[in-house]
């Protein structure tokens, strides 16, 4: 088994159009949640979200290329370019690209393309759909576009597991590099889900907050949708050291589980099982963990359940762990959530700064951990977990260690 390290990261998020800009906003505790600007607000119940604003696709793609790309792929491609550039990896050298994997998660896929096709067909009674509708909307499009742009011929596919899609993707890529099935991997998640249809469907579930996202606090009123993408370069420790690459963090383990219970209500046991598996695979003792980037959606159900699951996993050490939900700042980007949160987790490992849980008012007796309310905290982080739990009862947790 190889040790696997992360040598590049890229992101396009509501907090910034690069991973560095996103991390700076996170450590400043800045929230990108605000009124939705791209949809008619009078058609929405609450009308707030964390949008990626001022993203001009023509700055990144020519028109001929753009016609192939839903927003979900545009965001992934821009994030992937940043990650690959930062890593300094050369896929053309020694045939590395021949066996580099691409695994990009998305919960929904090309939602904007689907919405546009539906609008033409049902709204305008126009039976003619764009011939590239399928290649734009398919959920594997972001992974394929990244593989095509960088000529990566290893295993390439998407993972689809709602809000755990990113962590499932990164786990698959990690396991391939760790076992030697792939020599390197480009992996992460992307989501562009802020269409009228998708937001209305979330409203119908009555899980959206009407004010902002306030994870773990007493006044929390639900989740706030977000969008964006984050992508990472994974390679073996040997290769990274040999080529003198800057190592951002070691990806030590990934733990996955399915509740096999309720389709929406989270399970403490299922979440704890995924955390335990991530620790075990990473060879990490529970007391080595200094930070957990929580799933922390801000819904009434998730936050107490996740808090109990952390307590169940870590026992008394739970009180010594800083736990924060950065969804309070970048919103819930569904299939991109875990990838964006990995930017936060890597930032904490590299800089020794815990990004806060923003918008925190009063503690909830049902959530009794240290949530780093509102202001970032300096704290050395030896190792960290990043949790993602999805509808369907799917849990995926990443375990990271500071760069060796």
């Amino acid at each position: 088994m190889h040790r696997v390290v992360i040598t590049g990261m890229g992101a396009v998020t509501p907090l910034g159009h690069t991973a560095a800009a996103t991390w700076n906003a996170l450590r400043e505790g800045r929230s990108a949640i605000g009124p939705i600007t791209t949809l008619p607000r009078d058609a929405l119940r609450f009308g707030i979200a964390a949008e990626v604003r001022d993203f001009d696709p023509l700055r990144h793609f020519d028109e001929k290329r753009l016609i192939l790309l839903d927003r979900v792929s545009q965001l992934a491609l821009v994030a992937a370019r940043e990650a690959i550039a930062q890593s300094g990896i050369d896929f053309a050298r020694d045939g590395l690209g021949d066996n580099t994997a691409v695994v990009i998660g998305t919960g929904i896929g090309g939602e904007n393309t689907n919405d546009e096709a539906s609008r033409r067909m049902y709204g305008e009674n126009n039976p003619r759909l764009h011939p590239l509708t399928i290649v734009r909307l398919m959920a594997n499009a972001p992974a394929c576009q990244v593989s095509i742009e960088h000529r990566l011929h290893g295993p390439a596919f998407a993972t689809v597991s709602a809000c755990a899609s990113s962590n499932h993707a990164i786990a698959q890529a990690f396991h391939m590099v760790r076992s030697g099935v792939a020599d390197a991997a480009v992996t992460g998640g992307t989501e562009a889900c802020l269409t009228l249809g998708a937001v209305r469907a979330w409203e119908a579930m009555r899980v959206l907050a009407d004010d902002t996202c306030r994870p773990f606090c007493k006044q929390r009123r639900g989740l706030v949708l977000g969008e964006g993408a984050a992508v990472f370069v994974l390679e073996t420790l040997e290769r990274a050291q040999e080529r003198g690459a800057m190592i951002l963090a070691e990806l030590a383990g990934a733990g996955m589980s399915a509740d096999a219970g309720d389709i929406v209500f989270p399970s403490e046991a299922g979440a704890a099982m995924a955390m335990r598996r991530a620790l075990a695979e990473g060879g990490l003792a529970p007391d080595a963990i200094d930070y957990i980037n929580a799933h922390g959606t801000g819904t009434p159900a998730n936050d107490p359940t996740e808090s109990r699951a952390i307590r169940r996993t870590f026992g008394t050490h739970a009180d010594a762990i800083a736990v924060s939900s950065t969804k309070s700042m970048h919103g819930h980007a569904l299939g991109a959530a875990g990838a964006i949160e990995l930017v936060a987790t890597i930032g904490a490992l590299c800089d020794g700064v815990i990004p806060p849980t923003a918008n925190f008012l009063d503690p909830d007796p049902e959530c009794d951990l240290d949530y780093v309310p509102n202001t970032a905290r300096e704290k050395p982080v030896r190792a960290a977990l990043s949790n993602s739990f999805a509808f369907g009862g799917l849990n995926a947790v990443l375990a990271l260690r500071r760069a060796p």
């Binding site: 119940r45 609450f46 409203e203 119908a204 579930m205 009555r206 009407d210 009123r221 309720d262 389709i263 929406v264 209500f265 159900a301």
Partner: protein
């Protein structure tokens, strides 16, 4: 029993699968052991049937109890009827 009450009892019984005879105006959906996913489906069926939008966690409305649901629907239906229709 008002027709609104009658319809709401029907919807609750159908969506949650509980015995209609167990439903009383004073019960909350929680008392009736209705799961959250069933509760949102009940609200949706009520909205769709009466063509109204039920409030979401509005402190001025009680949508937790059966009686509260009935009163909310009666109020919203009356408001709808009072709206001037386009000439």
């Amino acid at each position: 029993m008002s027709s609104v009450q009658d319809t709401i009892f029907d919807i609750i019984a159908k969506e949650s699968g509980i015995d209609r005879a167990k439903i009383t105006p004073d019960a909350t959906l929680k008392d009736l052991e209705i799961q959250s996913l069933d509760a949102v489906q009940i609200l949706f069926e009520i909205e769709d049937h009466f063509k109204i939008t039920m409030p979401d966690r509005d402190p001025n409305f009680d949508t937790e109890s059966v009686k509260g649901l009935i009163e909310t629907v009666e109020k919203l239906v009356a408001e709808q009827a009072a709206k001037p229709t386009a000439a």
